[in-house]
């Protein structure tokens, strides 16, 4: 698989199909993977692919990275879940299909808690998204690398994130409030959740607007709550559950629960799941006169 990936990348760079291949490589000690930008054909040997390749590299496709775009057409190594984000970027008019070359990787799952990795992919070290993945074989790619994976996701979504959502839904409002305040109070406003998200591509985030100021930048519970609510809201009907925000959070706020809850609302209310078809409009861009309004009294 890696051989094929490297050969493909080299060929793409040699025949100038792309100016840069964004992929994964090892860190110095070969314990973790890290994004790499390959611009010279001979450097294609640095590319790797394995279950430690968790990053969603589609973040580098956004307008936040003019220096990456300046390298030429971008070839991107992407798992199915990463491609879902690329699809959203296309649906929202952020990138054109022809501006990128997708090297789709078939995938059997990634490792969420990498300190538990012992060289073998086991269900208990995989994130919830992998247990319910229906894009292990890339659904949109210029070339697909790796053997076809046969996997049927369970009928009803399973995993710790869904268990927690059900648990929270069973709580009283004050218990829910306490649960979230406990987590949000740890927030240090580093904005890693925003920066790592390929769908948070605004050039000026609402939290950076200070005339007038909308969200308090102070890392106190009130400012933290406002920030976390608005971050989740701005991803409503867009988030693909790639899980990058929670992985990036240095204080372990369970953002997946929040995002996935809203994804379930979008599914239930608009029968929409993001990241599958670039031709389908995101739900908040359009409307249906028959949308439910049982809550509007």
């Amino acid at each position: 698989m890696e051989r094929e990936l490297r050969d493909t990348a080299r060929r793409l760079l040699e025949d100038k199909t792309v100016g840069v291949v964004v992929g994964y490589s090892w860190n110095r000690k070969k314990t973790r993977t890290t994004p790499v930008f390959v611009t010279k054909p001979e450097d294609a040997e640095r590319l790797i692919f394995n279950p430690l390749c968790v990053n969603n590299l589609s973040v580098y496709l956004t307008r936040k990275y003019p220096d990456v775009r300046a390298l030429g057409r971008i070839g991107i190594v992407a798992k199915g879940c990463d491609i879902r984000n690329i699809v959203v970027l296309m649906a929202e008019g952020q990138i054109q299909r022809e501006d990128i070359y997708i090297i789709g990787m078939t995938c059997s799952g990634v490792v969420y808690r990498q300190e538990l990795w012992e060289g073998e992919l086991k269900p208990e070290i995989m994130p919830t998204k992998c247990h319910n993945c229906d894009v292990r074989n890339p659904h949109l790619a210029d070339t697909v690398i790796g053997e076809r994976v046969s996997f049927t996701p369970p009928e009803t979504p399973q995993g710790v994130v869904f268990d927690r959502i059900r648990e929270i839904e069973g709580m009283s409002p004050s218990e829910r409030w306490e649960f979230w305040m406990g987590h949000f109070s740890r927030c240090i406003k580093c904005y890693a959740c925003r920066q790592v998200c390929s769908l948070c591509y605004c050039e000026r985030c609402i939290t950076d607007k200070n005339m007038p100021q909308w969200i308090e930048t102070s890392a106190h519970p009130r400012g933290n709550l406002a920030w976390n609510l608005i971050r989740a809201m701005h991803l409503f009907g867009r988030c693909t559950f790639c899980g990058e925000c929670e992985r990036a959070c240095p204080v372990n706020i369970p953002l997946n629960i929040l995002n996935q809850k809203l994804a379930m609302v979008a599914k239930e209310a608009f029968d929409y799941s993001s990241g599958y078809d670039p031709e389908v409009h995101p739900p908040l861009r359009v409307f249906d006169p028959e949308d439910r309004e049982d809550f509007i009294k």
């Binding site: 220096d67 890693a192 920066q195 000026r204 930048t217 990058e244 372990n252």
Partner: protein
Amino acid sequence: MILRRDNIKRLVELVTSTGGVFVAPVVDTRQVVYRAIGSGEEIELNYILPRNSFKEFLFPQTEVIARFSMNKGGVDLENMDITPPDTVIFGARPCDTASLPSMRAVFTWDYIDEFYTRREERITVISIGCTQGDDDCFCTTVGLSPESRKGADIYLLETEQGDFVVESVTDRGRDFIQRYEEVFEQRGDVKTKALFMPERIDGIDVERIKGWLSKKENYQSPLWAELARKCIGCGACTFTCPTCHCFDIMDEAGLLEGERRKNWDSCQFDFFTLHASGHNPRDTQFKRWRNRFMCKFNFYPNKFSSRGCVGCGRCIRVCPVRLDITEVMEGISKEQ
């Protein structure tokens, strides 16, 4: 002197019962963090390094420095005057304590920041030599080690039995031991555990890095983009770093009253250097990352003769894209 493990609880009681604050490592959501505790039961002593540095007890992430309110005649302004309590930082790591002189250098340089100095005057730092570490520790590479007493008032070494050999480093440490002498015992025959010495990374030469960085032409070197293009611009590294000290002053107010707050800021944010005109001198992410690296290994040591990086490795552990500062150090050490 010996501090028995069982006696730590008593020490917490003694400090907190007289109005003092006792900060120690505790477990919160699968992470060990420094936190002000109420009882010694909470302390976790099986840890490599807490997620946060203890700088937040000297330089809080959010601090009110003034209050204002509107009245008919104008504006009432109230300056905040702080009288911090005696604070004990227990279980600090030698890398973290070594950051204290660096923080002091900044906050007492051209202006004495009393919000910092008053807290620092009341703080007693008790560090414990590391008996465990991980791949990301690199203190030995920047000239420190688990044996370093720099910045500590009292230095502890764990014994085979799990007790601690006590060594006072400063006058403040000696006073502390005297004040709470009932919890300390005379030393018997004890054997201390071996310290964890991170392997020194051969390819790194801090002096050489400094030399390369101070050459003006290297500021625009293509190496920066190559080494740091993957940075996504979150502030996780700066907020967990024990020596990062940048802050922003914000007025956060309602209609009639509000507060002027001093909040941590990060040079990794695109907003950090954005001019009112719309021009941003650090217009791409790798330039912001370059600034952080320059700050640690060039500006800081040149200006203050204290270290900018203590090798704790937090920035490596928290980085979502695994931008390893030691790999950049290695890359630059190779340059002429």
